[in-house]
């Protein structure tokens, strides 16, 4: 053909020219992996096949370093834990039965590296990608959350990354009409060139609407719909430019995908209409590895094969080579399998929503994935070898030789532990502490997110969980919290991961919901470093063991490795997302006392130990060392049961988890939540736990919650704690008139001053916005 743009590398040609040099190393494949591909095919791969294998066998898509560890999530489960699990790990997202015919799907993923390169688009497409995972399960997306981690707050590059990421998360999520109901924000210099942008999406559906990604039924059509395919996000595929005859084509394509939330919003409504009409047999979103991933996943999960004509793909850039088309990560695309009988209905729905589509091919019965380009076969593979049989590595791992020294470096007695404020100076210290980057109010960020859209948000930031109503008739709904304590995890990856799990569990229970499912996003450094691999292995073991102890299954998640720059890895950051169910979301418990709770008794549940290592106070003083707080998941489970029952029985009107920043932070936040003060006396508790006031205020012992109890319910409250043998202590009363957090006998902290300190930090660093 005279107008042919490429040296088309066909299967026939590959068989005839075994010695042609291929850029496998540039595409990220290892020598052994390339040899394995040749063995599987019985010949050298074509350029297009090489593109497919290289992306699908990448760490990101194949989990080759993490798979051997992740198996524990599937192994350490009981039948009891699985009873509400309708779809488990391996699909786009897990699905949990929450009763009344409703099912919920949620998942958390990372979009770290793109968000560093291009903060706005990286973060935006992170939201877009996870939302498409939710849609592909058949669900209507109903909320998003975003755990974010940045470098030092005063580093010049943070001023570039943070505003861009926040605008990107908001710009995409707000435009999709999804309330943002929570997340986390952490500043630490370990994230300087490796910000972590994790995004969670949750969706709801009726049981009968669950969809999965598989291509079944010989003769069924394979259709690509949504946005056109362009050259964005193909990054490494540029080395395949040797396919190209000329060098006049656009060479500098963005390696980061560009998002169009409008296209995605239309796609959501369009997909929901397809599901409602039962028009699609199988559906798969296009994310990482684009068409390579979608075709090989759909084909290998089905019972036959698939034939696709790549020339049918609608292109935004007509100069793309077949390899680039296969690898393109253009956003807002979906692939569906549709019976010939449903094709007309499918086309009608596409026309209604003005969505472009093209029929690429069909399901075949030969078990092969074949792809043609202008009549020539350029891919002929067993789809399972692409999608599921990638390499698996038993990466060496070993406890780092620096771990002992780190654990021996206790905060108490260290150079950083120079002055422990008492009395009047405690007031100023708490104000300064609550203004610190990691303790300050994050409303500057959350006020840039729509928390109201859809009209079902019962709780959102700054409460401990986001709570969303699922069923308007009954009030049935879900609570979600995401938590990670990377500092604890650095000190002891096994215990730190468990502590992160415990905190997420506690946050969900604090809102009044029964925790039922976990999704996790595991952010670590390079798996090729045995130190890092040990952190990873220990953290996974911690989460898997912890889930078993708590009786809550992992339903899915994501692994992000190689988060390091110049040999310096991030703190191990396993983010745990917990979902809980509540029968009536109007019974949810907020994280602070309101004016109408004036006079209520304030209790502290749990006991405090001398556990300052890894704490926010230690960070405030520039220290990281020692051992993290002791994790007791049996106690957490008991506490969770208590909180859920107390919420249901109306025994508590406010509940706030005691975690980062200890009791000092929990009391400050509970007072600031509605601007209502409290009189607090800690003498008896300090005596009971054998601690001085400072340690009681700043220790981060787990298993603790501050609650406010109506006077009329105090007896029942105490009876319930006593009956279940959970430690409790009355530490004060809500005092609406005082306008202060009054630590009696020590200092009264004016709430206006505390609020000014707490809320001023982000605006001072990143500019003023209208007050929330």
């Amino acid at each position: 053909m005279s107008d042919k743009k490429f040296n088309l590398d066909t299967v026939e040609q590959a068989a005839a020219t075994p010695d042609t040099e291929l850029p496998w190393a540039e595409l990220g494949l290892k020598e052994n992996e390339f040899q394995e591909i040749k063995k599987i095919l019985g010949r050298r791969p074509t350029a297009a096949e090489l593109a497919m294998y290289s992306v699908m066998w990448s760490e990101h898509c194949s989990y080759k370093s993490s798979k051997v560890h992740l198996k524990q999530f599937g192994a350490k489960v009981t039948d009891e834990m699985k009873k509400d699990l309708m779809v488990g790990i391996g699909e786009n997202a897990g699905v949990t039965n929450i009763g009344n015919g409703w099912a919920v799907t949620f998942k958390i993923e990372s979009h770290n590296h793109p968000s560093y390169v291009e903060p706005y688009q990286g973060a935006a497409t992170g939201v877009g990608g996870i939302v498409r995972d939710i849609i592909s399960m058949g669900a209507r997306p109903v909320a998003v959350m975003d755990p974010l981690r940045f470098g030092a707050i005063d580093h010049p590059d943070t001023a570039r990354v943070l505003p861009g990421v926040v605008s990107g998360v908001g710009g995409y999520g707000n435009s999709l009409g999804l309330p943002n109901i929570g997340g986390e924000v952490e500043f630490d210099e370990c994230y300087q060139a490796n910000p972590l942008v994790n995004a969670l999406a949750v969706g709801i559906m009726r049981h009968e609407d669950i969809r999965t990604a598989n291509a079944s039924g010989v003769g069924n059509k394979v259709i690509l719909f949504g946005a056109r395919t362009g050259g964005d996000g193909i990054g490494g595929a540029s080395v395949l430019a040797s396919e190209s005859f000329d060098d006049t084509k656009p060479s500098k394509r963005p390696a980061v995908q560009v998002g169009d939330p409008f296209a995605e919003k239309v796609l959501i409504e369009c997909c929901l209409e397809l599901f409602k009409g039962s028009v699609v047999e199988g559906i798969q979103d296009l994310g990482a590895a684009g068409i390579s991933c979608a075709t090989s996943e759909l084909a290998s999960n089905g019972d036959g094969g698939m034939h696709v004509d790549l020339t049918k793909v609608l292109l935004r850039d007509p100069t793309l080579t077949p390899g680039e088309i296969l690898m393109s990560e253009s956003q807002e695309r979906m692939m569906a399998v549709v019976t010939p009988a449903n094709l007309a209905r499918f086309e009608e729905i596409m026309a209604k929503w003005d969505v472009e589509y093209s029929v690429l091919g069909e399901v075949t019965g030969n078990g092969r994935l074949t792809i043609e380009w202008e009549g020539e076969i350029i891919v002929d593979v067993d789809p399972k070898t692409v999608a599921h049989d990638g390499p698996t590595y038993e990466r060496p791992y070993a406890r780092p030789d620096w771990q002992d020294a780190l654990q021996a470096d206790k905060f108490t007695g260290s150079a950083a532990d120079d002055a422990r404020p008492t009395g009047a100076e405690l007031g100023q210290a708490i104000k300064d502490f609550m203004a610190a980057p990691n303790m300050c109010s994050k409303s500057w960020i959350t006020n840039q997110y729509d928390r109201y859209v859809q009209g079902n948000t019962a709780l959102s930031m700054p409460d401990d969980s986001g709570v969303i109503r699922v069923d308007e008739e009954t009030g049935l709904g879900v609570a979600l919290a995401t938590d990670s304590n990377p500092r604890f995890t650095k000190l002891d990856p096994y215990q730190g991961a468990k502590a992160s799990l415990a905190e997420a569990y506690r946050n969900v229970a604090t809102a009044g919901a029964r925790p039922v499912a976990v999704s996790d996003c595991l952010n670590f450094g390079s798996p090729e470093d045995p130190d890092i691999m040990w952190q990873f292995a220990e953290a996974v073991r911690g989460i898997a063991d912890g889930c078993m102890e708590l009786g809550v299954p992992v339903t899915g998640g994501n692994v992000s490795l190689y988060n390091q720059t110049g040999g310096k890895a991030i703190n191990p950051t396993p983010v745990v997302a917990m979902m809980g169910v509540m029968d009536d979301v109007t019974r949810r418990t907020p994280s602070g006392w309101a004016p109408e709770h004036d006079g209520q008794a304030i209790y502290l549940l749990g006991t405090t130990r001398d556990e300052l290592d890894g704490s926010e106070w230690a960070r405030f003083k520039g220290h990281l060392g020692g051992l993290p707080p002791k994790v007791d998941l049996a106690a957490e489970k008991l506490l969770g049961d208590l909180l859920v029952n107390m919420s249901r029985d109306g025994l508590i009107d406010a509940a706030h988890d005691v975690s980062a920043g200890g009791l000092a932070a929990a009391l400050s936040e509970a007072c600031l939540r509605f601007g209502v003060g409290a009189r607090i006396g800690l003498g008896e508790v300090a005596e009971r736990d054998g601690l001085d006031l400072f340690t009681l205020l700043f220790s981060e012992s787990l298993g603790r919650v501050v609650v406010s109890v109506p006077r009329s319910e105090e007896v029942r409250f105490k009876d319930m704690c006593t009956a279940r043998n959970y430690p409790f202590a009355r530490i004060g009363v809500v005092d609406a008139a005082s306008g202060a957090l009054d630590l009696q006998g020590e200092v009264a902290i004016d709430l206006d001053e505390l609020r000014a300190a707490h809320e001023g930090t982000l605006a001072r660093h990143f500019g003023e916005v209208a007050p929330g």
Binding site: N174, S175, P261, F262, K265, N447, Y449, A770, G772
Partner: protein, 265 residues
């Protein structure tokens, strides 16, 4: 307290002890338009339903209002806000019918534009002025206090003039601008319907949050009354006194105002 008052004296807004709205209200059919990129259509429909009326979906591409008694142009990012917020939606077939009916000499159609809907109404010139980016250039979501400046419109009759209400505000192109002559006319003719109180969240001229046309049947505002219609899911404050956590439902009055006016008419 309501029992001792005559039925006509029962406050129509701010009192949620009334569990059964007037059944006659259900006969009022309120169309809610969906454009590609509309986000708050289901919320607006819920608000109509909670106020006692019957919502009816209208599709952007259909030049037919299906004999509805009123129309809500809801919020969102119609057509991705590409070109200019509301600019493309203003040219949609359904909007030509809305403009025609809203401008009719007799029984002009009541129309409410919320947020993006307000932007669309200014693009169709049913309402004067325009919205540009917030002065601080960021998307902002906050519980916003508004003053209802006039109850002489189709959508504010249940309020007392001067009443303060709290409803969510969430936008990024919310700064209301108009030429000085238009602003002067709006003020002089009492056509500023809602004004920001305490905080002007986006730099709008004269603290304007919402306006109406000459006859008061067309109202547009940037904040979202449809997100303050149901205790438990609204703002945590109210212009009618203390409410519990997310107990604010001040926005419901906008929808009951319409229904009550149409039932009386």
């Amino acid at each position: 307290m309501a029992e001792s008052l005559a039925a006509s004296e029962v406050p129509l807004v701010g009192d949620f002890s009334q569990s059964t709205p007037n059944p006659a209200l259900a006969d009022v059919r309120v169309g809610v338009i969906t454009f590609p990129g509309t986000l708050d259509d289901r919320d607006a429909s819920r608000a109509v339903r909670l106020a006692g009326g019957t919502p009816l979906p209208l599709w952007h591409d259909e030049a037919d209002l299906h004999k509805v008694d009123a129309v809500i142009v809801p919020g969102g990012f119609s057509y991705g806000d590409y070109l200019r917020a509301g600019a493309i939606a203003a040219k949609a077939p359904v909007m030509s019918k809305v403009v025609e009916a809203a401008s009719a000499a007799d029984n002009p159609l009541p129309v409410l534009g919320i947020c993006n809907g307000f932007q669309i109404l200014t693009e169709t010139h049913l309402l004067p002025g325009s919205m540009i980016k917030n002065d601080h250039r960021k998307f902002i979501c906050r519980d916003q206090t508004l003053r209802v400046e006039t109850n002489q419109t189709s959508w504010t009759g249940d309020f007392a003039a001067g009443q303060e209400i709290v409803v969510p505000l969430k936008n990024q192109d919310g700064q209301y601008v108009a030429d000085p002559k238009t602003l002067e006319a709006l003020e002089a003719e009492g056509r500023v319907v809602f004004r920001y109180v305490d905080v002007n969240p986006n730099g709008s001229r004269n603290d304007i949050a919402g306006i109406c046309n000459e006859r008061g049947n067309v109202v547009g505002l940037m904040p979202h009354p449809e997100h303050a219609v149901e205790p438990g899911f609204g703002p945590s404050s109210s212009g009618f006194g203390t409410v519990g956590l997310r107990g604010g439902a001040d926005g419901l009055g906008v929808f009951t105002s319409l229904l009550n006016q149409l039932v009386k008419a």
